[in-house]
């Protein structure tokens, strides 16, 4: 039986404290019809009153009224347009820049809760880094029977070229953008560990900036953890893996202006104060060093924060047609003359099948119990699990094991009978390609929709940095919101919006569930 058990410590027991919260001082909500049931709502309890951490916000919104709120949303939209905060969507092969979709109602997470999540994310990334390093060395986890050999060497994300390489500090995944969700009881789960080229952090930072301009008064009511320190921590993480002893030369490598995340690449380069390079700006010479074509000739580069996928970074080694990469880059990296962030091959741990083993991976390498929960995952390659999946398809989410960005995901309960038949056939044809999970009833947050405030499903993408000198987690993360009613799709490429996320110094309204600590 291939079903991992939830194990962890973080969750919530709904509304225990809400019930005890003093009713005085709470104005009647301006939106009496706001009813998130049957879901867990981030700001509002099941009795319709705001959670303690959201009280000040909710009251303020009630005072403002719907018209003023709508006006502020307009002001936010205007600011985002003026700031040029965009993402690119592809419509019939043509990239179109769209203003970044932002909902002004923030999501609030009490700090004591966040501290546990933070510890859980660091624990997870530490274990995943040990796992990646092991994959490219002795494969102890395989010999110890923790993971099957096929999970490693059979993975499309396993890069033979990386075997035996020792990146500084044994860190392969320096930047991780995890996807977290909460179920209908408010329990937190990790949904995905994005270790390849996770994006979204620029929007997290921009969302906060806009919120400061739109609701400056709220910052008097709340002590909100700042998000800005991320850039400084990113800079020091990048510098910490430099192979040179002097001041390192760092660059951000982008696929170019037509990439959907180009805004972010340019933003990060600007914030870090480093050059934004394309593959054609770099050259690897016979000395295995990487140089940038500057106005003063070639200058050596020490650290490359690459936002180009593994398979495109070096046409000498991977896709020979790639124009996005730099011939010889792998050679330079393997010889230790340049650091790549994240390291090539880190994607081995970013895979839905590996995901299902993460609790065991944490126990094996760290000898600790996982702090964050993993969603029980059926691996369809296992005959018993497959039979159960096929039997219960309408109540499961089926996902391709190696895709990201929400592509190819089938939500059984929302699928047509025909779609279910197709999915069943695909699973039987290529069981290895698929995993299935129970449908999690994603939590909701109040969202402005056509001038009314309505519950919409959300997830959360915090970013974790890990270098030889330590780890850092953003305070909060990028909250993505599905803007259509009932929709579970939060990806901005598929019409999702976003919210500012506040980690606040206020009492947690949700108890922390038991389990090993």
């Amino acid at each position: 039986m291939d079903l991992t058990q939830p194990s962890g410590t973080l969750g919530s027991v709904d509304d225990q404290k809400d019930a005890a919260a003093p009713p005085g001082g709470t104005l009647a909500p301006q939106w009496p019809t706001y009813d998130p049931a049957p879901f867990y709502d981030e700001l509002v309890g099941s009795d319709g009153t705001p959670r303690p951490s959201a009280e000040a916000l909710w009251n303020h919104f009630a005072e403002l009224g719907p018209d003023a709120l709508a006006e502020r949303q307009l002001a936010a939209d205007r600011e985002i347009r003026a700031l040029g905060v965009t993402f690119t969507v592809y419509d019939g092969g043509v990239g179109v820049d769209r203003p970044w979709p932002f909902d002004i109602i923030p999501r609030i997470i009490p700090r004591d809760q966040w501290q546990i999540i933070e510890a859980g994310l660091v624990q997870r990334l530490a274990a995943l880094n040990l796992f990646i390093d092991d994959c490219y060395h002795d494969q102890r986890a395989v010999s110890a029977g923790v993971v099957p050999a096929d999970l490693v060497t059979g993975s499309p994300n396993f890069r033979r070229e990386c075997v035996g390489v020792d990146p500084p500090g044994g860190i392969w995944a320096h930047i991780c953008g995890s996807d977290l969700i909460r179920d209908d009881e408010g329990f937190w789960y990790v949904l995905e560990d994005n270790l390849r080229v996770p994006s979204g952090v620029s929007y997290l930072l921009e969302n906060r900036m806009v919120t400061k301009h739109i609701f400056p008064e709220m910052f008097r009511h709340y002590s909100i953890e700042p998000v800005d320190p991320y850039v400084g921590r990113l800079a020091s993480t990048l510098a910490s893996v430099s192979p040179s002893t002097g001041d390192p030369t760092i660059v951000v490598l982008t696929p170019g202006i037509h990439n959907s995340a180009y805004f972010e690449h340019a933003f990060l380069a600007q914030q870090l104060g480093v050059e934004l390079v394309e593959g054609s700006d770099l050259v690897v010479l016979d000395d295995d060093c990487v140089y940038a074509r500057t106005i003063d000739g070639l200058e050596q580069v020490d650290v490359i924060y690459r936002r180009v996928d593994d398979l495109f970074i070096d046409p000498e080694v991977f896709l020979p047609d790639s124009l996005l990469g730099v011939p010889g880059l792998m050679r330079a990296w393997k010889s230790g003359r340049v650091a790549l962030v994240n390291a090539p091959g880190a994607g081995i741990a970013d895979d839905k099948k590996v995901y299902s083993y993460v609790p065991d991976i944490i126990r094996f390498y760290l000898e600790e119990e996982p702090i964050l929960w993993t969603i029980p995952t059926y691996r369809c390659s296992d005959p018993e699990a497959r039979a159960r999946v096929l039997n219960d398809l309408a109540n499961l989410v089926v996902k391709p094991a190696n895709e990201s960005g929400g592509y190819g995901v089938l939500v059984g309960s929302q699928a047509t009978p025909e779609e279910l038949v197709v999915a069943a056939r695909e699973i039987e044809d290529e069981p290895n390609r698929w995993v299935a999970q129970p449908i999690i009833k994603l939590s909701t947050a109040p969202t402005l929709c056509d001038d009314e405030v309505a519950p919409r499903h959300v997830d959360l993408r915090p970013f974790t940095l890990m270098g030889p000198d330590g780890a850092y987690v953003t305070r909060g993360g990028l909250t993505r919101v599905a803007r259509r009613k009932g929709s579970l799709v939060v990806n901005s490429s598929q019409g999702g919006g976003s919210k500012d996320t506040w980690v606040v110094d206020s009492p947690s309204d949700t108890a922390l569930a038991g389990g090993p600590t």
Binding site: R81, A82, L83, G84, S244, G246, D247, P248, T249, I250, V252, I257, A266, F267, A269, Q270, G273, V274, E275, L276, V277, E278, S280, D281, V283, L285, D286, D287, C289, Y291, A292, R293, T294, I295, D296, G297, L298, E299, Q300, D302
Partner: protein
């Protein structure tokens, strides 16, 4: 118009040189002198995080040129509209000169006049204005220039202040949004003013918040080459009416005032020159003045000052010096009698030569500079 991006108070060549040496960039100086053979020590010295990608340099250079072109074209259209109103019907010069200044006469003819018959030879105001502001097929229209400036600044975001990009993005958005209003004369004035003010705002942000680094040098360089070019083109169009020596044209002063105004030069001219605006004094001022930022001479002085702080700029500096010499030796008095057009063409060719040498030195894809060898490590 008061923005003085060029720092022309101290335009003496020596003064500039002294000034610029304060922008010490030891890594460039040492590397440019060929110290690479020394090996790793020198490499360390060179890697202090101030490098400028050739591609970024090209982007800021073109951002400088396109911003200047947008602003310059807006000024010219605005002033021409004003002057047009001043002249009696029949005395006016029509709207074609604007096309000539922008260098898009043939593109315009292709689009608008092919359809119209020969009896309709004179270009209609609406058509010319539309073409110059945002006409399809006009790569130098104000809107096209702003779009290009925005794209280049977008590419160069990491090396330009964030606020400058935002201001440019904002100007581009509002110019697009409000394009309709530019169709009436009255709305046009507002639209053009907004463009000019917006460009000035971007310049102001750059001047006030951008480090005087290599990226800034490329931006100012592009701006000054474009400026000099625009000034010669404004003068060139005027050269047609110079061929009648002694002819007493009652509107001569009006025309020369318009020339000065379209380069924002009227007031500076008045302060600098006691004479009333006429051919000789205007030419002398717009070609040879070393203090007015839009005079060709001043543009070249500034361009050369920027080149001086860039590595490997010897050939481009040489071209710049050559252009300065052409301008300085202009026989202004004789030119008012004839040959101005030919002379201005020489100046334009000299400007093209500067551009080509800059392009060749820094932006060509083949450019690799010196290459350290494995032995140097």
């Amino acid at each position: 118009m008061t923005a003085d991006l060029l720092g022309t108070e101290d335009v003496g060549a020596e003064g500039h040189e002294g000034d610029r040496t304060h922008r010490t960039r030891p890594e460039i100086g040492e590397r440019a002198s060929g110290a690479i053979d020394d090996g790793t020590g020198d490499l360390e010295e060179g890697r202090s995080g101030t490098m400028l990608l050739a591609r970024m340099a090209e982007a800021v250079y073109w951002a400088g040129r396109h911003l200047e072109r947008a602003e310059g074209t807006a000024r010219i259209v605005q002033v021409h509209t004003d002057a047009h109103v001043d002249l009696p019907v029949g005395e006016d010069v029509g709207w074609e000169p604007l096309l000539a200044i922008a260098g898009v006469d043939s593109e315009f003819a292709e689009r608008y006049q092919a359809a119209a018959g020969p009896e309709d030879a004179r270009a209609a105001e609406e058509d010319v204005i539309e073409f110059l502001l945002h006409g399809e097929g006009n790569d130098s229209s104000i809107l096209a220039s702003m779009t290009a400036a925005r794209e280049n600044l977008r590419t160069a975001r990491p090396v330009v202040p964030r606020e400058a990009w935002e201001a440019c993005n904002n100007l581009w958005l509002s110019s697009n949004d409000l394009l309709e209003e530019a169709h009436s004369r009255e709305g046009r004035v507002r639209w053009l003013r907004r463009v000019i003010a917006g460009c000035q705002c971007i310049h102001g942000i750059l001047l006030g918040t951008m480090s005087r680094d290599e990226a800034m040098s490329f931006l100012v360089l592009g701006q000054n080459i474009e400026r000099a070019d625009l000034t010669t083109r404004v003068l060139d169009v005027r050269s047609d009416s110079l061929h009648a020596p002694g002819a007493d044209d009652p509107y001569d002063v009006v025309h020369w005032m318009a020339v000065l105004r379209s380069l924002a030069a009227y007031q500076p001219f008045r302060r600098a020159m006691p004479a009333r605006p006429q051919g000789g004094s205007t030419l002398r001022f717009l070609l040879q003045d070393d203090r007015f930022p839009r005079a060709v001479g001043a543009c070249l002085t500034e361009a050369r000052a920027q080149l001086k702080v860039l590595p490997h700029s010897e050939r481009a500096q040489e071209a710049c010096q050559n252009a300065s010499m052409v301008v300085a030796s202009a026989p202004v008095a004789r030119l008012t009698l004839g040959g101005l057009s030919e002379f201005l063409e020489d100046v334009q060719l000299a400007l093209v030569e500067i551009h080509e040498r800059v392009d060749d030195t820094y932006f060509r894809p083949s450019f690799v500079g010196w290459e350290p060898t494995a032995a140097s490590r």
